[in-house]
Symmetry: C2
Subunit: 695 residues, 2 copies
């Protein structure tokens, strides 16, 4: 059966990658439109390329450094000799996911705008296809990396399942590191450009969004690609393989058998097939309204979800064996849980529902009340996701037999995460299409296309906000479950490292001082991390503000359209400041588990992981949803409510939206990666902690 498994995973990967390639070719056949559109698209492409090149150069140095450290540890016998290489490939594949996503996104933005000149449906098809390329590249590369390492370690080096699972977690760490760099760097870039462009352009100079006279407008569009696309690609690559690897590792610990490793992989393959099929359901008739567009997208994702729900039952039955068929409900809980979190996110952040409507109404009494309102909406929105995650944990744990054997229960939790992310191919497509539509709108505006084109891209964009909210729900929910599973993998790893002594669960009692102290430290990390990234956005944005003000002041005739702004300087400024700012937060995330481990011992590390997971989950939900609610409250007011565009209420809402930007697009999503990276680093350096810690 094992050889069959490798065959299956390679095939799954091939299906995804070939589908992505064909879709990309189809997109490229469309025209980029007028000369002006082509020129704008080319500038955006050039800016995004330049950013990624410079970013990858910095990241490369980091990867070489960690590679050398891991190499040294391997020589000392503290980690397996495969780990340094696994670490590198994880980083490379994650970076590649982001790079390909960015390539296709920057190639299809003008094409989407051009297609919108003909009609909404055509625009949707191109934007969604671009999203699909990214979605299927991520899952395809993920499965490919897993397949290659599985083949190497199993058939070439003939390692035991335990050793395989452990070595493979290292490429999870590589992917997480890359993802964190991409999310933080891209997130700072996109928000610095956005805030800078808005503050000076919209608020001070009073020109519309995406106006070509604004010197930061190209940087803003570049930002959408490097942050929301490349960052998200690397991020979800990491989530995807993180959930699969933690399930594999816990499966081996529970069953001491590779069949438990097969299940998550096969679910992933099934997910690829269902997602491909689902994409064919995403189409709408011409003249469709926003509701129908949303229905078109939901039809695709729902189809995929239902088929996976049906198809994973026989998988569990035949792979794990009939005595473990109840584990099916762990997968189902994850799948349903993701949907519920997504819908709760939509409820709290979409202007079709009460919370965001009330938030928009708070603009009537000024800026302060809309800020307070957004913060409390975000905090309140943590309730449903927490309840869902708790329900998933309890269901997954107990149906998988955790009551009699805890490791089985923890394996169940990891399966729930795999279930939640199984439809990633298509959910990511609906998510990644947003920035493409957003860019298309920018190009339509800058190329001065007719108003109806902009209306169409706006319809696509606004839809993108809703699907992005849902996508974030999945990302956050799966991050929490994966982080818990990884925490369990860490405990398992420690258990295998403690030679003579059996691991005592009582050492992990939550009343133990090292666990408690770890809990405090871990819970503090997401707060510090959020503070650092927000400060970074603030600093970078202030430099953009100054540059844009300088150009408005010094380039005479800029506002009347007689002079061209200097776009490249703004792009370069954003690139330099975001790259400088991304190093510290990422560095802290990598170093913290090692320091905590050395000072407090492994029990402190477990406490830290639990604390970071819990507080990170809450903070990520809070920040993402506050940001989403502010964004849509502003859009709701722009739609003609509470005084409409230009009113004092609108100004108040713009402030809310600006505060929400680093919340929802920099700090919030980066925390998801942080909580998993902490566990991966802990696992990789477990032996170091066991040998050298003070406690």
């Amino acid at each position: 059966m094992d050889k069959l498994l490798v065959l299956f995973t390679f095939s799954g990967s091939a299906i995804a990658l070939i589908f992505a390639l064909l879709t990309a070719k189809r997109v490229m056949r469309f025209s980029e439109g007028t000369d002006r559109m082509q020129k704008i698209a080319a500038s955006i492409r050039a800016g995004a390329n330049a950013f990624l090149k410079r970013q990858y150069r910095i990241v490369f140095i980091f990867f070489i450094a960690v590679f050398l450290i891991l190499g040294a540890l391997a020589l000392l016998g503290l980690v397996s000799p495969f780990m340094p290489f696994a670490f590198l490939t994880g980083g490379i594949f994650s970076g590649l996911s982001g790079f390909i996503g960015m390539k296709i996104a920057t190639a299809s933005n003008a094409r989407t705008a051009n297609a919108c000149r003909e009609g909404l449906n055509k625009g949707l098809r191109i934007a969604f296809s671009a999203g699909s390329v990214m979605g299927f590249t991520v899952v395809g590369l993920g499965l490919l990396d897993v397949s290659i390492w599985l083949t190497l370690l199993k058939y070439v080096f003939k390692l035991s399942p335990d050793a395989i699972a452990s070595a493979m977690l290292t490429f999870g760490m590589g992917a997480s590191c890359m993802a964190l760099f991409a999310r933080v760097g891209g997130g700072i870039f996109t928000k610095a450009a956005d805030v800078g462009a808005d503050l000076v352009g919209k608020v001070e100079a009073g020109i519309p969004e995406d106006d070509p006279r604004n010197p930061a407008v190209i940087a803003d569009n570049v930002g959408d690609n490097v942050g929301d696309v490349a960052g998200m690609g690397a991020d979800l690559y990491e989530s995807y393989i993180g959930s699969i690897l933690s399930a594999c590792s816990l499966g081996v610990a529970a069953f001491h058998d590779s069949k438990a490793m097969a299940l998550p992989l096969l679910i992933a393959v099934l997910g690829v097939i269902c997602s491909v099929l689902g994409t064919f359901f995403v189409r709408t008739k011409e003249g469709a309204e926003q509701k129908q567009l949303l229905r078109a997208l939901s039809r695709g994702t729902n189809f995929a979800a239902v088929i996976i729900a049906l198809g994973s039952f026989p998988l569990v039955w035949f792979v794990l064996g009939r005595e473990h068929w109840l584990s099916y409900f762990a997968i189902l809980a994850g799948l349903i849980g993701g949907v519920i979190i997504g819908q709760a996110t939509e409820y709290f952040t979409s202007d079709s529902y009460k919370p965001t409507k009330k938030l928009a109404a708070a603009s009537e009494t000024g800026t302060a009340t809309i800020i307070i309102g957004g913060l409390s909406t975000g905090m309140m929105s943590t309730l449903v996701p927490v309840v869902v995650i708790c329900a998933c944990v309890l269901i997954a744990y107990f149906v998988s037999g955790g009551a009699s054997q805890p490791t089985m229960g923890l394996y169940g939790i990891a399966l729930a995460a795999v279930g939640m992310l199984s439809t990633l191919g298509i959910t990511l497509a609906t998510d990644a299409y947003g920035p493409v539509a957003d860019n298309a709108g920018g190009i339509a505006q800058m190329a001065e296309l007719p108003a109806e084109v902009r209306e169409r891209t706006d319809a696509l964009d606004s839809l993108g906000n809703t699907t992005a909210a849902t996508g974030k729900g999945f990302a956050i929910g799966s991050a929490a479950l994966t982080a818990l599973a990884l925490m369990a993998s860490y405990v398992d790893k420690i258990d295998s490292l403690m030679e003579n002594a059996a691991l005592q669960l009582s050492a992990l009692s939550i009343t133990s001082p090292t666990v408690l102290v770890g809990l405090f430290v871990g819970a503090c990390l997401p707060f510090l991390f959020a503070a650092m990234t927000m400060n970074a956005v603030g600093r970078a944005a202030q430099s953009v503000v100054k540059e844009v003000r300088r150009q408005f002041r010094e380039l005479t005739g800029l506002l009347d359209g007689r002079a061209e702004p200097d776009y490249a300087t703004c792009v370069d400024l954003c690139t330099r400041s975001s790259l400088r700012e991304m190093v510290l937060p990422t560095g802290v995330a990598v170093v913290a588990p090692v320091i905590v481990g050395l000072l407090l011992g492994w029990t402190g590390v477990v406490g830290m992981l639990a604390g970071a997971t819990v507080s990170g989950f809450l903070l990520a939900v809070f920040m993402s949803n506050s940001g989403g609610a502010w964004d849509n409250a502003k859009k709701y007011i722009e739609g003609g409510n509470h005084g409409g565009k230009g009113s004092d209420q609108h100004k108040a809402a713009v402030v809310g939206d600006t505060v929400g930007d680093p919340f929802k697009d920099t700090a919030g999503p980066a925390i998801n990666i942080l909580i998993k990276l902490l566990s991966m680093v802990s696992i990789v350096f477990a032996a170091v902690v066991v040998h050298f810690s003070l406690f």
Copy 2:
């Protein structure tokens, strides 16, 4: 020795109460100034009295309900028959602390203003004396309640130390419930009035703060008294006895002997004596600058702290015995830890240091950047308090012998909390004097006293902001330590309830699903609680805004000073809305531990307590410090920096300050109480959970 102990605690209580009484009498001898000042002071007094009366009426219903529930449980044998009565007295004494504090504060505000007509030193003396009355009333009543119950249970009913400690924790629960009502109700009142007065008066009508033409101005001043004074009094009463009771309870568990109960009580008595002596050092010469004023206050608190540090060594040596003398360092760690947290708070929130200066500079790029900056400053400021608490926990645990006997270590953590709060008499005096000075300034403005008077009250007030920040540091730090100690008391209580089975610490492993789920739920509670209280402030403030706008519109001649505003309606409006809004959050805090216990069992409750303590601590520090930094950034700009009063930068800073108001004065401090109340409720209802829970 036991009888001597009771004698000592009664004497300590008597010293504190007599000192408070004498100080109060001395304050009352001063004149309230002009007719106009007397009239204004009388309106504030009347409003505050009316609020407290109505608040206590609602709270009374709640207390009777809980009393009946506890009575029923006592009849079923699930709680001790003393508990219902202990619960009532805790509530009554806590309420009394707030009431007396409010009485003296409303009596001394006009007197302080009047004294400031003669000089700064005289003003400081009166305001500080008023603060002292409150400080010593709190500690005096705290010790009195403990002494009475100790005598009753020990000498009248002759209970065992275990039973005594357990019954006494119930009056902690009563005090916490009262404190939460007072903090939340008063906090909503004060911030609704403040936000309402500022938004319409300062921002819309452009009249200065505390202008008598503003209809909400009396409500604003009433709010300072019912929120910052009465709320704080009840709050710190709760903190104070909470730390003592948890130490007593853990001491009995560790030593099975009443000597361990004696130590925290004797430290408290020592603290009273040192604090009384310390107050005599608080005086400054005429013409003193702000720095000298601060030094005068610090001299008092430092003196008290040093004497306690010296005096508690022999106490530990003789009471616990020389083999436990190392526990002294637990007390010392708490004492020093409190000082460090206070100083870190000052660093992050005072405009003498970089963070707040940089925050003020962020106003140059607009409202959004100052909001983002304040949020990240608050998040960043969590680092030092977390490190200090972690250090206190580890030091206290291990010096007290936790390595060999965990309960001893946990007793050490409780002793650290007692150490931190031992100087409460005088630190609370320096804290509570702030609102008095604030009110004095308001009266000076409304009574149109010469500008120099207002300058003096402003100097006192600004100093009050710094001491309040330090006071908050103590309150938050001690809350975290006390909450951890109470969590340990809960585990101990469960241990004693599990008849045949010995409690397995492995059941509390942080990887157990019920503990993990509890952790998530617990961590979510402070977020929900903050959201509810902030929403409540928002709703209440909006009703005030509408009323003030109505008066400006309908009462002709109000702005030219030809008509009198209708102050009473605003006070009544704040009273009604804050009382309505305080019920739900407090109710959730009381009900949550019981529901979690019934659904997840006692291990889930422990997880919940840990999660709530950790996330509540972080959230409280974050929110308090963000609020403090915004407040002082605004003051810094008002001091003539970044454009000064009336500039766009100032307007941006006012928005920040308004957002910060519910952060630092409603949600933040209430979370401190929440985390302790959750543990107290858990302990009191432990038997119910053990008997009826699903898990």
